[in-house]
Symmetry: C2
Subunit: 274 residues, 2 copies
Protein backbone atom coordinates (compact mmCIF):
# COMPACT_ATOMS: atom_id res chain seq x y z
CA UNK A 1 0.00 0.00 0.00
CA UNK A 2 1.23 3.53 -0.78
CA UNK A 3 0.91 6.44 1.64
CA UNK A 4 1.71 10.05 0.67
CA UNK A 5 2.90 12.52 3.32
CA UNK A 6 4.12 16.10 3.67
CA UNK A 7 7.85 15.67 3.11
CA UNK A 8 10.70 15.67 2.86
CA UNK A 9 12.01 12.66 4.84
CA UNK A 10 12.54 13.59 8.45
CA UNK A 11 9.50 15.87 8.75
CA UNK A 12 7.01 15.60 11.62
CA UNK A 13 4.45 14.26 9.15
CA UNK A 14 6.97 11.61 8.11
CA UNK A 15 7.21 10.50 11.73
CA UNK A 16 3.40 10.35 12.03
CA UNK A 17 3.33 8.27 8.83
CA UNK A 18 6.02 5.87 10.12
CA UNK A 19 4.16 5.37 13.39
CA UNK A 20 0.79 4.72 11.76
CA UNK A 21 1.89 2.81 8.64
CA UNK A 22 5.17 1.13 9.74
CA UNK A 23 5.16 -1.47 6.95
CA UNK A 24 3.90 0.51 3.97
CA UNK A 25 5.49 2.37 1.11
CA UNK A 26 5.76 6.04 2.24
CA UNK A 27 6.07 8.75 -0.43
CA UNK A 28 7.03 12.38 0.38
CA UNK A 29 5.41 15.34 -1.44
CA UNK A 30 6.58 18.94 -1.45
CA UNK A 31 3.54 20.73 0.00
CA UNK A 32 0.10 20.02 1.45
CA UNK A 33 -1.76 20.58 -1.82
CA UNK A 34 0.56 18.13 -3.61
CA UNK A 35 0.00 15.51 -0.89
CA UNK A 36 -3.79 15.72 -1.26
CA UNK A 37 -3.53 15.80 -5.06
CA UNK A 38 -1.39 12.64 -4.99
CA UNK A 39 -4.42 10.90 -3.49
CA UNK A 40 -6.88 12.48 -5.91
CA UNK A 41 -4.76 11.36 -8.84
CA UNK A 42 -4.62 7.78 -7.54
CA UNK A 43 -0.86 7.81 -6.83
CA UNK A 44 -1.39 6.77 -3.18
CA UNK A 45 -3.99 4.93 -1.08
CA UNK A 46 -3.82 7.38 1.83
CA UNK A 47 -2.49 10.91 2.29
CA UNK A 48 -1.22 12.35 5.61
CA UNK A 49 -1.22 16.10 6.33
CA UNK A 50 -1.02 18.31 9.45
CA UNK A 51 -4.31 19.97 10.41
CA UNK A 52 -3.74 21.87 13.69
CA UNK A 53 -1.00 22.71 16.16
CA UNK A 54 -1.76 23.47 19.79
CA UNK A 55 0.25 26.71 19.71
CA UNK A 56 0.10 28.03 16.17
CA UNK A 57 -3.48 26.99 15.43
CA UNK A 58 -5.02 25.52 12.31
CA UNK A 59 -3.10 24.68 9.17
CA UNK A 60 -5.24 26.69 6.77
CA UNK A 61 -3.81 25.14 3.60
CA UNK A 62 -5.31 21.80 4.71
CA UNK A 63 -8.78 22.95 5.74
CA UNK A 64 -9.15 25.41 2.84
CA UNK A 65 -8.23 22.80 0.24
CA UNK A 66 -10.52 20.17 1.78
CA UNK A 67 -13.43 22.63 1.88
CA UNK A 68 -13.00 24.29 -1.50
CA UNK A 69 -11.69 21.53 -3.71
CA UNK A 70 -11.17 18.03 -2.40
CA UNK A 71 -13.54 15.05 -2.52
CA UNK A 72 -11.77 13.15 0.25
CA UNK A 73 -12.30 12.69 3.98
CA UNK A 74 -10.21 12.31 7.11
CA UNK A 75 -10.54 8.67 8.25
CA UNK A 76 -7.94 8.68 11.05
CA UNK A 77 -6.52 11.42 13.29
CA UNK A 78 -3.07 11.15 14.85
CA UNK A 79 -1.92 13.42 17.70
CA UNK A 80 1.84 13.80 18.00
CA UNK A 81 3.91 15.73 20.55
CA UNK A 82 6.16 18.31 18.86
CA UNK A 83 9.69 18.84 20.10
CA UNK A 84 12.08 21.18 18.32
CA UNK A 85 15.86 20.77 18.23
CA UNK A 86 18.53 23.24 17.19
CA UNK A 87 20.93 21.35 14.92
CA UNK A 88 24.08 22.02 12.90
CA UNK A 89 26.89 20.13 11.20
CA UNK A 90 29.40 18.52 13.52
CA UNK A 91 32.24 20.90 12.70
CA UNK A 92 30.14 24.05 13.07
CA UNK A 93 31.34 26.27 15.92
CA UNK A 94 29.48 29.54 15.33
CA UNK A 95 25.83 30.04 14.37
CA UNK A 96 25.01 33.21 12.46
CA UNK A 97 21.93 32.13 10.50
CA UNK A 98 19.08 29.91 11.67
CA UNK A 99 16.78 28.26 9.12
CA UNK A 100 13.32 26.84 9.77
CA UNK A 101 9.61 26.80 9.01
CA UNK A 102 7.72 29.87 10.35
CA UNK A 103 5.84 27.77 12.96
CA UNK A 104 9.06 26.22 14.32
CA UNK A 105 10.69 29.66 14.37
CA UNK A 106 7.72 30.95 16.39
CA UNK A 107 8.03 28.02 18.81
CA UNK A 108 11.76 28.56 19.32
CA UNK A 109 11.64 32.39 19.32
CA UNK A 110 12.38 32.81 23.02
CA UNK A 111 15.33 30.37 23.01
CA UNK A 112 16.87 32.01 19.95
CA UNK A 113 16.43 35.51 21.38
CA UNK A 114 18.18 34.52 24.62
CA UNK A 115 20.94 32.36 23.18
CA UNK A 116 21.56 33.69 19.65
CA UNK A 117 20.33 37.29 19.78
CA UNK A 118 22.39 38.27 16.72
CA UNK A 119 21.53 35.29 14.52
CA UNK A 120 19.64 36.06 11.31
CA UNK A 121 16.41 34.09 10.83
CA UNK A 122 15.62 32.59 7.41
CA UNK A 123 12.22 31.06 6.65
CA UNK A 124 11.96 27.74 4.80
CA UNK A 125 9.04 25.70 3.48
CA UNK A 126 9.48 23.01 6.18
CA UNK A 127 11.72 22.13 9.13
CA UNK A 128 13.14 19.18 7.20
CA UNK A 129 14.13 21.41 4.25
CA UNK A 130 15.93 23.64 6.71
CA UNK A 131 17.88 20.65 8.09
CA UNK A 132 18.75 19.44 4.60
CA UNK A 133 19.92 22.89 3.53
CA UNK A 134 22.16 23.20 6.59
CA UNK A 135 23.61 19.73 5.92
CA UNK A 136 24.33 20.74 2.31
CA UNK A 137 26.27 23.84 3.44
CA UNK A 138 28.67 22.46 6.06
CA UNK A 139 31.13 25.36 5.71
CA UNK A 140 28.59 28.06 6.48
CA UNK A 141 27.72 29.28 10.03
CA UNK A 142 24.22 27.80 9.68
CA UNK A 143 21.84 25.95 12.01
CA UNK A 144 18.29 24.61 11.63
CA UNK A 145 15.35 24.19 13.98
CA UNK A 146 13.83 20.78 13.17
CA UNK A 147 12.72 17.49 14.74
CA UNK A 148 15.07 14.72 15.91
CA UNK A 149 14.12 12.66 12.87
CA UNK A 150 15.63 15.35 10.60
CA UNK A 151 18.94 15.32 12.50
CA UNK A 152 19.13 11.54 11.94
CA UNK A 153 18.03 11.80 8.31
CA UNK A 154 20.61 14.45 7.35
CA UNK A 155 23.46 13.58 9.74
CA UNK A 156 23.28 16.76 11.82
CA UNK A 157 24.21 17.16 15.50
CA UNK A 158 21.68 18.48 17.99
CA UNK A 159 23.22 21.62 19.53
CA UNK A 160 20.32 22.41 21.90
CA UNK A 161 17.54 19.97 22.81
CA UNK A 162 13.78 20.66 23.10
CA UNK A 163 13.99 24.41 22.53
CA UNK A 164 10.21 24.84 22.01
CA UNK A 165 8.77 27.54 24.24
CA UNK A 166 5.86 25.61 25.70
CA UNK A 167 6.09 22.00 26.86
CA UNK A 168 2.51 21.18 25.82
CA UNK A 169 2.99 21.27 22.07
CA UNK A 170 1.02 18.84 19.94
CA UNK A 171 0.06 18.61 16.29
CA UNK A 172 -3.01 16.89 14.86
CA UNK A 173 -2.47 15.01 11.61
CA UNK A 174 -5.20 13.64 9.35
CA UNK A 175 -5.00 10.46 7.32
CA UNK A 176 -7.14 11.23 4.26
CA UNK A 177 -8.78 8.50 2.24
CA UNK A 178 -12.06 6.70 1.80
CA UNK A 179 -11.94 3.90 4.36
CA UNK A 180 -10.86 3.74 8.00
CA UNK A 181 -7.70 1.72 8.51
CA UNK A 182 -6.49 -0.07 11.64
CA UNK A 183 -3.55 1.88 13.10
CA UNK A 184 -1.05 0.40 15.62
CA UNK A 185 -1.51 3.26 18.12
CA UNK A 186 -3.72 3.91 21.17
CA UNK A 187 -7.19 5.21 20.33
CA UNK A 188 -8.37 8.03 22.60
CA UNK A 189 -11.48 9.49 20.94
CA UNK A 190 -13.85 9.49 17.97
CA UNK A 191 -14.84 12.71 16.19
CA UNK A 192 -16.49 14.36 13.18
CA UNK A 193 -15.33 17.55 11.43
CA UNK A 194 -17.86 19.51 9.44
CA UNK A 195 -17.62 22.64 7.27
CA UNK A 196 -20.72 24.73 6.64
CA UNK A 197 -21.85 28.01 5.15
CA UNK A 198 -24.74 30.08 6.42
CA UNK A 199 -27.76 31.19 4.36
CA UNK A 200 -28.19 34.98 4.03
CA UNK A 201 -31.89 34.87 4.83
CA UNK A 202 -31.54 33.26 8.28
CA UNK A 203 -31.01 35.89 11.04
CA UNK A 204 -28.72 34.66 13.83
CA UNK A 205 -27.76 31.78 11.51
CA UNK A 206 -24.53 30.78 13.29
CA UNK A 207 -26.34 30.68 16.62
CA UNK A 208 -29.01 28.44 15.11
CA UNK A 209 -26.42 26.14 13.56
CA UNK A 210 -24.79 25.67 16.97
CA UNK A 211 -28.20 25.18 18.65
CA UNK A 212 -28.64 22.01 16.61
CA UNK A 213 -25.73 20.48 18.54
CA UNK A 214 -26.18 22.24 21.91
CA UNK A 215 -29.80 21.05 22.35
CA UNK A 216 -28.68 17.46 21.92
CA UNK A 217 -25.73 17.70 24.30
CA UNK A 218 -23.25 17.03 21.49
CA UNK A 219 -19.98 18.58 22.63
CA UNK A 220 -18.17 20.86 20.18
CA UNK A 221 -14.40 20.53 20.57
CA UNK A 222 -13.54 23.31 18.10
CA UNK A 223 -15.08 26.09 16.03
CA UNK A 224 -13.30 28.17 13.47
CA UNK A 225 -14.22 30.63 10.74
CA UNK A 226 -12.31 30.91 7.47
CA UNK A 227 -12.82 33.51 4.74
CA UNK A 228 -14.91 32.24 1.81
CA UNK A 229 -12.47 34.18 -0.44
CA UNK A 230 -15.41 36.08 -1.92
CA UNK A 231 -15.88 39.34 -0.01
CA UNK A 232 -14.52 40.55 3.33
CA UNK A 233 -16.83 39.32 6.08
CA UNK A 234 -18.09 36.17 4.33
CA UNK A 235 -16.93 32.99 6.06
CA UNK A 236 -17.30 29.27 6.14
CA UNK A 237 -17.19 27.56 9.52
CA UNK A 238 -15.46 24.41 10.64
CA UNK A 239 -16.67 22.58 13.74
CA UNK A 240 -15.29 19.45 15.36
CA UNK A 241 -17.57 17.47 17.66
CA UNK A 242 -17.52 14.20 19.56
CA UNK A 243 -19.05 11.29 17.67
CA UNK A 244 -20.21 9.40 20.76
CA UNK A 245 -23.97 9.35 20.09
CA UNK A 246 -24.32 8.39 16.44
CA UNK A 247 -28.10 8.54 16.34
CA UNK A 248 -28.19 12.06 17.81
CA UNK A 249 -25.50 13.20 15.38
CA UNK A 250 -27.68 11.93 12.50
CA UNK A 251 -30.64 13.99 13.70
CA UNK A 252 -28.44 17.05 14.18
CA UNK A 253 -27.22 16.86 10.58
CA UNK A 254 -30.78 16.43 9.28
CA UNK A 255 -31.85 19.51 11.20
CA UNK A 256 -28.90 21.51 9.83
CA UNK A 257 -30.09 20.73 6.30
CA UNK A 258 -33.70 21.61 7.07
CA UNK A 259 -32.54 25.03 8.34
CA UNK A 260 -31.01 25.59 4.89
CA UNK A 261 -27.43 25.27 6.15
CA UNK A 262 -25.24 23.56 3.55
CA UNK A 263 -22.48 21.39 5.03
CA UNK A 264 -19.64 19.15 3.92
CA UNK A 265 -18.20 16.42 6.13
CA UNK A 266 -14.42 16.91 6.25
CA UNK A 267 -13.81 13.78 8.30
CA UNK A 268 -15.29 11.10 10.54
CA UNK A 269 -12.40 9.53 12.37
CA UNK A 270 -11.00 7.75 15.38
CA UNK A 271 -8.30 9.73 17.18
CA UNK A 272 -4.97 8.07 18.08
CA UNK A 273 -2.04 9.32 20.10
CA UNK A 274 1.66 8.74 19.44
CA UNK B 1 2.10 63.35 16.26
CA UNK B 2 3.97 60.11 15.69
CA UNK B 3 2.38 57.00 14.13
CA UNK B 4 4.12 53.59 14.00
CA UNK B 5 3.30 51.13 11.20
CA UNK B 6 4.34 47.72 9.88
CA UNK B 7 7.18 48.67 7.53
CA UNK B 8 9.25 49.06 5.60
CA UNK B 9 8.25 52.08 3.47
CA UNK B 10 6.09 50.98 0.58
CA UNK B 11 4.15 48.32 2.52
CA UNK B 12 0.35 48.07 2.42
CA UNK B 13 0.29 49.23 6.04
CA UNK B 14 2.37 52.26 5.03
CA UNK B 15 -0.27 53.14 2.46
CA UNK B 16 -3.06 52.78 5.06
CA UNK B 17 -1.02 55.03 7.39
CA UNK B 18 -0.50 57.66 4.66
CA UNK B 19 -4.22 57.72 3.85
CA UNK B 20 -5.36 58.01 7.47
CA UNK B 21 -2.58 60.25 8.86
CA UNK B 22 -1.45 62.27 5.81
CA UNK B 23 0.24 65.03 7.83
CA UNK B 24 1.85 63.11 10.67
CA UNK B 25 5.27 61.66 11.33
CA UNK B 26 5.11 57.99 10.18
CA UNK B 27 7.66 55.51 11.61
CA UNK B 28 8.19 52.00 10.18
CA UNK B 29 8.84 48.97 12.44
CA UNK B 30 10.12 45.54 11.38
CA UNK B 31 7.27 43.29 12.55
CA UNK B 32 3.82 43.46 14.13
CA UNK B 33 5.06 42.87 17.68
CA UNK B 34 7.59 45.73 17.32
CA UNK B 35 4.85 48.07 16.02
CA UNK B 36 2.64 47.37 19.04
CA UNK B 37 5.61 47.59 21.42
CA UNK B 38 6.55 50.99 19.97
CA UNK B 39 3.20 52.21 21.27
CA UNK B 40 3.54 50.48 24.63
CA UNK B 41 6.96 52.06 25.10
CA UNK B 42 5.62 55.52 24.31
CA UNK B 43 7.60 55.97 21.09
CA UNK B 44 4.44 56.69 19.05
CA UNK B 45 0.92 58.03 19.66
CA UNK B 46 -0.78 55.44 17.43
CA UNK B 47 0.25 52.07 15.95
CA UNK B 48 -1.15 50.62 12.69
CA UNK B 49 -1.17 46.87 12.02
CA UNK B 50 -3.03 44.50 9.65
CA UNK B 51 -5.70 42.37 11.32
CA UNK B 52 -7.46 40.36 8.58
CA UNK B 53 -7.35 39.72 4.85
CA UNK B 54 -10.43 38.64 2.92
CA UNK B 55 -8.58 35.70 1.33
CA UNK B 56 -5.91 34.60 3.76
CA UNK B 57 -7.90 35.21 6.93
CA UNK B 58 -6.82 36.65 10.25
CA UNK B 59 -3.35 37.94 11.02
CA UNK B 60 -2.74 35.81 14.10
CA UNK B 61 0.32 37.74 15.28
CA UNK B 62 -1.93 40.77 15.81
CA UNK B 63 -4.85 39.10 17.61
CA UNK B 64 -2.62 36.80 19.71
CA UNK B 65 -0.46 39.68 20.92
CA UNK B 66 -3.47 41.88 21.70
CA UNK B 67 -5.14 39.06 23.64
CA UNK B 68 -2.14 37.70 25.51
CA UNK B 69 -0.02 40.75 26.18
CA UNK B 70 -1.11 44.18 25.12
CA UNK B 71 -2.98 46.82 27.07
CA UNK B 72 -4.11 48.76 24.03
CA UNK B 73 -7.27 48.92 21.93
CA UNK B 74 -8.22 49.38 18.29
CA UNK B 75 -9.76 52.85 17.97
CA UNK B 76 -10.11 53.00 14.15
CA UNK B 77 -10.43 50.34 11.45
CA UNK B 78 -9.32 50.96 7.87
CA UNK B 79 -10.34 48.70 4.98
CA UNK B 80 -8.01 48.79 2.00
CA UNK B 81 -8.23 46.97 -1.36
CA UNK B 82 -5.12 44.84 -1.99
CA UNK B 83 -3.60 44.70 -5.45
CA UNK B 84 -0.40 42.79 -6.11
CA UNK B 85 2.15 43.69 -8.82
CA UNK B 86 5.01 41.65 -10.19
CA UNK B 87 8.02 43.97 -10.32
CA UNK B 88 11.70 43.85 -11.29
CA UNK B 89 14.56 46.18 -12.09
CA UNK B 90 14.34 47.94 -15.44
CA UNK B 91 17.14 45.99 -17.08
CA UNK B 92 15.90 42.57 -15.95
CA UNK B 93 14.91 40.36 -18.88
CA UNK B 94 14.54 36.92 -17.29
CA UNK B 95 12.87 36.02 -13.99
CA UNK B 96 14.14 32.90 -12.24
CA UNK B 97 13.38 33.71 -8.60
CA UNK B 98 10.32 35.46 -7.20
CA UNK B 99 10.43 36.97 -3.70
CA UNK B 100 7.46 37.89 -1.53
CA UNK B 101 5.53 37.50 1.71
CA UNK B 102 3.71 34.13 2.03
CA UNK B 103 0.26 35.80 1.74
CA UNK B 104 1.19 37.65 -1.46
CA UNK B 105 2.72 34.46 -2.86
CA UNK B 106 -0.57 32.67 -2.12
CA UNK B 107 -2.53 35.44 -3.83
CA UNK B 108 -0.35 35.36 -6.95
CA UNK B 109 0.08 31.55 -7.04
CA UNK B 110 -2.09 30.99 -10.13
CA UNK B 111 -0.45 33.79 -12.13
CA UNK B 112 3.05 32.58 -11.29
CA UNK B 113 2.19 28.95 -12.13
CA UNK B 114 0.85 29.94 -15.54
CA UNK B 115 3.47 32.53 -16.47
CA UNK B 116 6.63 31.53 -14.60
CA UNK B 117 6.20 27.78 -13.95
CA UNK B 118 9.96 27.28 -13.44
CA UNK B 119 10.59 30.27 -11.17
CA UNK B 120 11.78 29.47 -7.66
CA UNK B 121 9.72 31.04 -4.86
CA UNK B 122 11.49 32.65 -1.91
CA UNK B 123 9.58 33.78 1.17
CA UNK B 124 10.30 37.15 2.78
CA UNK B 125 9.06 38.88 5.91
CA UNK B 126 7.01 41.41 3.90
CA UNK B 127 6.22 42.39 0.33
CA UNK B 128 8.19 45.61 0.73
CA UNK B 129 11.32 43.72 1.89
CA UNK B 130 11.01 41.58 -1.23
CA UNK B 131 10.91 44.70 -3.42
CA UNK B 132 13.88 46.24 -1.63
CA UNK B 133 15.92 43.05 -1.94
CA UNK B 134 15.20 42.83 -5.68
CA UNK B 135 16.21 46.50 -6.11
CA UNK B 136 19.46 45.80 -4.23
CA UNK B 137 20.35 42.92 -6.57
CA UNK B 138 19.85 44.43 -10.04
CA UNK B 139 22.14 41.91 -11.78
CA UNK B 140 20.23 38.84 -10.55
CA UNK B 141 17.20 37.31 -12.39
CA UNK B 142 14.92 38.34 -9.51
CA UNK B 143 11.38 39.72 -9.25
CA UNK B 144 9.11 40.62 -6.32
CA UNK B 145 5.38 40.51 -5.73
CA UNK B 146 4.49 43.73 -3.91
CA UNK B 147 2.16 46.75 -3.97
CA UNK B 148 2.50 49.71 -6.36
CA UNK B 149 3.82 51.80 -3.48
CA UNK B 150 6.85 49.49 -3.20
CA UNK B 151 7.67 49.84 -6.91
CA UNK B 152 7.67 53.63 -6.47
CA UNK B 153 9.64 53.46 -3.24
CA UNK B 154 12.44 51.25 -4.61
CA UNK B 155 12.46 52.30 -8.26
CA UNK B 156 11.25 49.01 -9.72
CA UNK B 157 9.23 48.50 -12.90
CA UNK B 158 5.87 46.71 -12.81
CA UNK B 159 6.22 43.71 -15.15
CA UNK B 160 2.65 42.41 -14.66
CA UNK B 161 -0.21 44.38 -13.13
CA UNK B 162 -2.83 43.19 -10.60
CA UNK B 163 -1.78 39.56 -10.54
CA UNK B 164 -3.86 38.67 -7.46
CA UNK B 165 -6.09 35.67 -8.04
CA UNK B 166 -9.36 37.12 -6.77
CA UNK B 167 -10.56 40.65 -7.54
CA UNK B 168 -12.30 41.07 -4.17
CA UNK B 169 -9.19 41.28 -1.99
CA UNK B 170 -9.29 43.56 1.03
CA UNK B 171 -7.29 43.91 4.21
CA UNK B 172 -8.52 45.31 7.51
CA UNK B 173 -6.03 47.45 9.42
CA UNK B 174 -6.37 48.58 13.02
CA UNK B 175 -5.18 51.87 14.42
CA UNK B 176 -4.25 51.04 18.01
CA UNK B 177 -4.22 53.64 20.72
CA UNK B 178 -6.31 55.04 23.52
CA UNK B 179 -8.50 57.66 21.84
CA UNK B 180 -10.49 57.69 18.62
CA UNK B 181 -9.03 60.08 16.06
CA UNK B 182 -10.78 61.81 13.13
CA UNK B 183 -9.60 60.18 9.89
CA UNK B 184 -10.00 61.82 6.44
CA UNK B 185 -11.76 58.75 4.93
CA UNK B 186 -15.37 57.62 4.47
CA UNK B 187 -16.91 55.95 7.52
CA UNK B 188 -18.97 52.85 6.70
CA UNK B 189 -19.62 51.11 10.04
CA UNK B 190 -19.00 50.99 13.79
CA UNK B 191 -17.94 47.78 15.56
CA UNK B 192 -16.58 46.13 18.70
CA UNK B 193 -14.09 43.25 18.88
CA UNK B 194 -14.05 41.09 21.98
CA UNK B 195 -11.88 38.16 23.08
CA UNK B 196 -13.18 35.74 25.68
CA UNK B 197 -12.39 32.42 27.34
CA UNK B 198 -14.98 29.92 28.51
CA UNK B 199 -15.29 28.56 32.07
CA UNK B 200 -14.84 24.78 32.40
CA UNK B 201 -17.89 24.36 34.58
CA UNK B 202 -20.43 25.76 32.07
CA UNK B 203 -21.74 23.05 29.68
CA UNK B 204 -22.44 24.38 26.17
CA UNK B 205 -20.48 27.50 27.18
CA UNK B 206 -19.77 28.80 23.66
CA UNK B 207 -23.44 28.44 22.77
CA UNK B 208 -24.41 30.41 25.86
CA UNK B 209 -21.85 33.12 25.13
CA UNK B 210 -23.33 33.60 21.66
CA UNK B 211 -26.90 33.53 23.07
CA UNK B 212 -26.12 36.73 24.94
CA UNK B 213 -25.81 38.50 21.58
CA UNK B 214 -28.36 36.50 19.54
CA UNK B 215 -31.24 37.17 21.99
CA UNK B 216 -30.65 40.89 21.65
CA UNK B 217 -30.44 40.90 17.86
CA UNK B 218 -26.80 42.07 17.97
CA UNK B 219 -25.28 40.90 14.69
CA UNK B 220 -21.96 39.05 14.89
CA UNK B 221 -19.80 39.85 11.86
CA UNK B 222 -17.03 37.37 12.74
CA UNK B 223 -16.17 34.54 15.12
CA UNK B 224 -12.82 32.87 15.43
CA UNK B 225 -11.10 30.47 17.81
CA UNK B 226 -7.38 30.63 18.60
CA UNK B 227 -5.35 28.18 20.66
CA UNK B 228 -4.76 29.33 24.24
CA UNK B 229 -1.24 27.84 23.87
CA UNK B 230 -1.86 25.67 26.93
CA UNK B 231 -3.14 22.27 25.76
CA UNK B 232 -4.54 21.06 22.43
CA UNK B 233 -8.27 21.82 22.34
CA UNK B 234 -8.21 24.87 24.65
CA UNK B 235 -9.13 28.07 22.81
CA UNK B 236 -9.93 31.69 23.24
CA UNK B 237 -12.57 33.21 20.98
CA UNK B 238 -12.68 36.49 19.14
CA UNK B 239 -15.99 37.95 18.04
CA UNK B 240 -16.69 41.12 16.09
CA UNK B 241 -20.14 42.63 16.32
CA UNK B 242 -21.97 45.74 15.17
CA UNK B 243 -21.99 48.55 17.73
CA UNK B 244 -25.30 50.05 16.60
CA UNK B 245 -27.29 49.66 19.84
CA UNK B 246 -24.96 50.80 22.60
CA UNK B 247 -27.39 50.17 25.47
CA UNK B 248 -28.06 46.57 24.36
CA UNK B 249 -24.33 45.94 23.95
CA UNK B 250 -23.81 47.10 27.54
CA UNK B 251 -26.40 44.61 28.83
CA UNK B 252 -24.88 41.82 26.71
CA UNK B 253 -21.45 42.40 28.24
CA UNK B 254 -22.93 42.43 31.77
CA UNK B 255 -24.63 39.10 31.08
CA UNK B 256 -21.38 37.61 29.75
CA UNK B 257 -19.69 38.48 33.05
CA UNK B 258 -22.53 37.06 35.12
CA UNK B 259 -22.22 33.75 33.22
CA UNK B 260 -18.58 33.64 34.40
CA UNK B 261 -17.19 34.35 30.93
CA UNK B 262 -14.05 36.50 31.15
CA UNK B 263 -13.62 38.93 28.24
CA UNK B 264 -11.20 41.57 27.01
CA UNK B 265 -12.25 44.33 24.61
CA UNK B 266 -9.76 44.34 21.71
CA UNK B 267 -11.29 47.35 20.07
CA UNK B 268 -14.26 49.68 19.77
CA UNK B 269 -13.92 51.50 16.50
CA UNK B 270 -15.44 53.25 13.53
CA UNK B 271 -14.70 51.53 10.21
CA UNK B 272 -13.38 53.56 7.26
CA UNK B 273 -12.75 52.58 3.65
CA UNK B 274 -9.87 53.69 1.41
Amino acid sequence: MKVGYLGPSGSFTHNAALKSFPNEDLLPFANITEVIKSYEEGLVDYAIVPVENSIEGSVHETSDYLFHQADIEAVVEIIQPIKQQLMATDSQKSIEKIFSHPQAIAQGKKFVKENYPDAKIELTASTAYAARFVAQNPNQPYAAIAPDAAAREYGLTVVAKDIQEIEENYTRFWVLGHEAQPIPLTQIDSKISLAFTLPDNLPGALYKALSVFAWRGIDLTKIESRPLKTVLGEYFFIIDFENHKEELVGYALEELSSLGIAYKILGQYDVYRI
